[in-house]
Subunit: 431 residues, 2 copies
């Protein structure tokens, strides 16, 4: 550990080092701030950061710990907060010029819970416009010409670039999984509703889900357990999990390297003792992606009424188009989408009788160029179904940019997902 | 109509009069403001009202209509907004001194949708503290010594007192049904999630539901249809509905007059041709009220973390106690409550195979005195199960204060609920 810089520690390592008196929060936060100072001009992961404010929180955490008042494993831990999540003491701009300089009256529940647990709110990570697809300023830390993905662009990039060990993100389509995969880190979208959403700027209230970007599965579990009280043990499963390979109806949207990655990973898991099967989804699933888009657009149109009616000139063309489409989705179509979703949820629950986790692509391939944020193709269905999913780094693709594999569990089985994902992570890291 | 003051018109009547050029929004809003000027000192229904601001909106609506630009049946209609719902141009204090003078950056979705439809945001109606039980300043318009109920206290009192034809409320336990029943008006809590919640101050995100207080079932349907696009026809059912009388496991908490009211109403409906049966709930339902309290308290504790950690001295003793209890609800207990709720949802769906609506008490009796806001007893289970429900005025109790009966439908059957409630309303009004 003496040769590892503090900012490169995982959250679990840093927590332990602070608990054992080998590391202070001030030293950890200083190390993160140094990394940010060195790299932010290139990566552009932060919507707001004030080093003095972050250090003051760190010193307060250290002082409390010195008096025996450490509050949790998160005590003294820096966390980045996606800028669609309210903070009372930092601007919260939702990725939109409409909210330039906006200061909410209160912290979101997840932010104030982190503070209550002794954590340090390091700063606000860049979001795309209202967590939709229009890109913001962030670059992929592996290549400035490529997107970090979105919408949790800054959360993905900052964690991947060792600026912070943990960041909160949100996912409505693939906004945690995609940036985490593109940036080569872990992204965890819990079962819908697991982390309290009070104080989150809503886009689609039936889908918006808070989650975590981190460098290890155990780190994602640490933050989520702290926020929810749900016991999450990130010890890799002792027995190999039963894995259903789910090519999804969009398999042909995955590039050759991604298809090969899923197949080779499955083979590797089988060789390690996993019972690997193939999941054949019913035809009802074929429309889940288009259903997700219509369903969420209906909700976008309503959730962003203030912005589209009073500040239309400050919306991006892509969001303007998406909202116009949402305004045309009828209530009947919306309810039909709900019914189709419920049907697929029930079908999917049965598929999970035969496997502990499913394995699927995280993205169609490596990060595309900086003009967009990539395609949400492999996130839409799982989000629409409310299922917990994690992307685990899985090496690099032909362009030398990161790839991930996605692991999905049954609704509510976040504890099982974490253990199985830790197993997958260990195997994939064994290169 | 010449003898009816404009503020006494129902929303449907006012809408029609404006569409036919017999009434302007300015005249309607002026009439509401006159009533408020005359009565607000006694009733105290408004957290904020600025007559000039309301009249300016009304004149703008009239000007637009004069140019052929009427936008919807809500065009020119004044609506009261419960003060837990954000408005960008009026203070929003969530019923708490913590937020004295708070001005949100944006309207809640429901508010901006009303504006988009041409409606007039008349003002903010009083909420109890964060929509919990601690009373605010409002009095029952039928008796200043009695509570209007809560938490949508001002919405219930203002509509009952002819200050405004429509008001938005929210319900987490019984916060629409109870004040509407105590004040002698209609209260409609839709199926969970029907009206978009972006911009609502969350208390329990799994339960908080936006709904309407109005003087007729048709008026509640008018506003809800406008906000959601769900077709709601408030023509009374042509054939008498099948009615299941649900005494609920808390029947002995209803006073004699309320029990008699349910029984006499059922007899009356049967005499009018309804097929009336008795719903025998399984023992699993016996714990639904205590489950609702534990489940919601777990969420309160998280949603109000900012307030309880930074402004504890400004919380009422009752809310402080509720939050402390919520902090002790374990994740396992919360998940057990979820599982019990799902089981009861499935059981309840089967009971609705045998009836179109259920009939149950709205409250344990008439409004109690002004020290509290009454008991949520007959709202908790229906809210926990996410079911749509309406309270319909049903005469007066022994103290001369209003009573209501509650009508409940299966999840998602809001259209059926509205038609059946309109049938019930017509019968109960036939005295």
């Amino acid at each position: 550990m003496t040769t590892t810089r503090a900012n490169e520690l995982t959250a679990v390592q840093a927590s332990q080092a602070m608990a054992e008196g080998r590391l202070t929060s001030e030293a950890l936060v200083s190390s993160c701030l140094e990394r940010i100072a060195a790299r932010e001009e290139d990566v552009r992961a932060w919507a707001f950061i004030d080093p003095a404010q972050a250090l003051a929180q760190a010193r307060a955490a250290d002082a409390l710990r010195a008096k025996g008042g450490a509050r949790s494993p998160l005590h003294g831990m820096p966390v980045g907060i996606k800028d669609v999540i309210d903070t009372y003491d930092m601007p919260t701009e939702y990725g939109s010029p409409i909210y330039a300089g906006h200061r909410p009256a209160a912290d979101a529940a997840c932010v104030s819970l982190i503070r209550e647990l002794g954590g340090v709110i390091l700063g606000k990570t860049v979001s795309t416009e209202f967590a939709t697809r229009h890109p913001n300023k962030t670059r992929n830390p592996h290549s400035p010409l490529h997107t970090p993905g979105g919408s949790s662009s800054g959360s993905g990039a900052s964690v991947a670039d060792f600026m912070v060990p943990l960041a909160l993100g949100t996912q409505t389509s693939s906004s945690i999984i995609r940036p985490a995969a593109y940036c080569g880190v872990v992204g965890y979208k819990p079962t819908f509703g697991l982390i309290n959403r009070a104080g989150l700027k809503f886009l689609s209230e039936s889908l918006d889900t808070l989650g975590v970007v981190s460098r290890t599965v155990a780190d994602a579990a640490l933050l989520t357990e702290s926020l929810t009280g749900l016991a999450l043990d990130a010890t890799p499963s002792s027995s190999a999990p039963r894995i259903g390979v789910c090519r999804t109806p969009w398999w042909d949207k995955a590039d050759a390297a991604t298809q090969a990655l899923i197949d080779s990973s499955a083979a590797r898991f089988a060789a390690a003792g996993a019972k690997v099967s193939s999941v054949a989804l019913e035809p009802a699933f074929d429309r889940m992606n288009e259903i997700q888009i219509a369903f969420s657009s209906y909700e976008f149109f309503r959730a962003l009424t203030h912005e589209r009616t009073r500040h239309a000139e400050l919306l991006s063309p892509s969001l303007t188009g998406r909202l116009a489409a949402g305004g045309k989705v009828t209530r009947a179509a919306y309810e039909a989408a709900q019914a189709d979703t419920r049907q697929c949820m029930a079908l999917m629950a049965r598929h999970f009788d035969g496997c502990d986790i499913m394995l699927a692509p995280s993205t169609p391939g490596e990060a595309p160029d900086i003009e967009g944020t990539g395609e949400p193709t492999f996130g839409l269905m799982w989000t629409q179904l409310g299922l917990p999913c994690i992307t685990v780094p899985a090496g690099k693709g032909p362009q030398g940019l990161p790839l991930g594999v996605q692991v999905i569990a049954a609704s509510g089985n976040d504890a099982g997902l974490i253990r199985a994902a830790a197993w997958v992570e260990r195997l994939l890291a064994a290169d």
